[in-house]
């Protein structure tokens, strides 16, 4: 297993020859409604990829297929060399290596900030309590929430809750973190703090797949931007190219609509 070998991870540059996550010809329907149609996507280690597109374009569904919160109707999800759509794969073992951050934060309201972060460290990674707390405090430090470790989620602002949720995801040392519109539920004044944390993670070399409406963020921070519409990847490329000279008229229309 190529699991968590630090040397290997450090060696993985953005130009590594193999993708950490690859979606191949993914199809998804809800009833008769086609949500995703033949979606292909490759994420290299260390990359930050932003997915943009109008609502209903299937981008959140695609993200939820990456850790199998939704099941595909056809196609493959290859994570770290394993096909997650195979019934032979133990999905719980894979998911500990894939962090996820939700639009609605989904913090556990019955646990304090620290307890939110330590829960999976204790129950999934099997760390003893003290060690789990040390790892969790470190993760909270990285998102600037260490001094709120003992706070109940309901007492925190939306931005603070989302940063705790990010700490919860990165504490497990995942190989990739999926972000599902992480700032869409936030008060506009609180968006900046969350984006700053994501920017820092990018500098630390975290691999991230981000579904977002934050065009400025995508343009400034992403290595690659993917534009989706009607369940298909319309085009992708470096942010400057995609934002300044989009090839597809739908991309151009979306970008000019969003920037107004």
């Amino acid at each position: 297993m190529s699991a968590a070998n630090p040397a290997q991870r450090a060696a993985a540059s953005p130009q590594a020859p193999y993708p950490i996550l690859e979606l191949i010809k993914l199809h998804k329907r809800f009833g008769d409604h086609v949500v995703l149609e033949a979606v292909d996507l490759r994420i290299e280690p260390g990359e930050l990829v932003c997915v943009i597109g109008p609502s209903g374009s299937g981008k959140s569904t695609m993200l939820r297929l990456c850790n199998q919160l939704e099941r595909a109707c056809g196609g493959q999800v290859i994570f770290d060399g394993q096909d997650l759509t195979s019934s032979l794969v133990s999905i719980d073992r894979v998911r500990r290596q894939i962090g996820m951050v939700f639009q609605q934060f989904n913090l556990y309201p019955h646990l304090r900030a620290l307890g939110n972060v330590t829960l999976a460290l204790k129950r999934v990674a099997g760390l003893p309590r003290r060690e789990a707390q040390a790892v969790a405090l470190d993760a909270l430090e990285r998102v600037g929430m260490r001094e709120h470790a003992n706070a109940w989620p309901s007492t925190l602002s939306g931005g603070q809750q989302q940063r705790v949720a990010i700490a919860r995801a990165i504490a497990m040392s995942p190989k990739i973190v999926l972000f599902d519109e992480p700032t869409s539920a936030l008060d506009p004044t609180l968006v900046g703090s969350v984006l700053a944390v994501m920017r820092r993670l990018r500098e630390e070399g975290m691999t991230m797949l981000v579904v977002t409406h934050e065009m400025q963020f995508a343009r400034a921070v992403a290595d690659r931007v993917v534009f989706m519409a009607d369940g298909k990847v319309i085009e992708q490329g470096p942010p400057e190219q995609l934002f300044t000279s989009p090839r597809d008229p739908r991309t151009a229309a979306f970008i000019s609509g969003e920037s107004n």
Binding site: R95, G99, N106, L119
Partner: protein, 226 residues
């Protein structure tokens, strides 16, 4: 009726002195029954609710059937069937066992419904957050869903526990020597109403604090909500 006669009828000191030990014995048995029923019925109901949240359609059908059946059937019916009917079919259960078994199943049905309502009230994002961190179904249930769901279900769970303990009085029909049975047999030995008063007081001693406590707890909850 004069006050005097009222007192000698319902609060005759001689009768109180003679029969209070019997009532205390009845209270001990009622308490024992209550604990046995609440433990068994509570655990069974909780397990059924957890199983139901796995959402296997075939199994859920039987869980709903079980819960509906025991919520719709007057408990005296199975009590009479098990106590008077089974011996004729070759299986003899003690009156205590029959009462314990029946009321445990009744409680399990209500606890299942209350816990399931609590589990259902938890937003799906909680399941998703836990599952996507690598926790399995059982771990998610134990560490994330149940701590929240049980808190929601707590008021109806305590009400059910009180209600089922009151139902232990049904044991008197098949001769389980709990409080009511002790009181009414003492009443028929003695030809005095005083043992019945003692029995009623014994129930009040157990339940009045609980009823008042739950009223207080509910009003506190209401303030928190508002």
């Amino acid at each position: 009726m004069s006050i005097d006669r009222f007192f000698t009828t319902f609060f005759d000191p001689a009768m109180i002195a003679r029969y209070w030990p019997m009532i205390i014995e009845g209270m001990a048995l009622t308490a024992l029954l209550a604990v046995a029923i609440i433990v068994c019925g509570g655990v069974l109901g909780l397990l059924l609710a957890c199983l139901r949240s796995r959402r296997w359609p075939a199994i859920n059908f039987f869980i709903v059937l079980f819960a509906d059946f025991w919520r719709a059937l007057p408990p005296l019916v199975p009590i009479l069937l098990l106590y008077f009917g089974l011996p004729n079919a070759g299986l003899e259960l003690s009156a205590f066992t029959v009462l314990w078994l029946t009321l445990s199943l009744v409680l399990a049905a209500f606890v299942e419904e209350a816990c399931w309502a609590g589990i259902r009230a938890i937003r799906p994002g909680q399941w998703e957050a836990a599952r996507s961190s690598g926790m399995g179904f059982v771990q998610t249930l134990c560490w994330v869903i149940l701590p929240q769901a049980l808190r929601i279900a707590l008021p109806s769970l305590t009400n059910r526990a009180i209600a089922i303990t009151k139902m232990t009085a049904l044991g008197t029909v098949i001769g389980v020597p709990e409080i009511l049975n002790q009181a009414s047999s003492a009443q028929s030995f003695s030809g005095s109403a005083t043992p019945l008063t003692l029995g009623a007081l014994a129930y009040l001693a157990i339940f009045l604090p609980l009823v008042v406590l739950s009223r207080w707890a509910e009003s506190r909850l209401a303030w928190k909500r508002g």
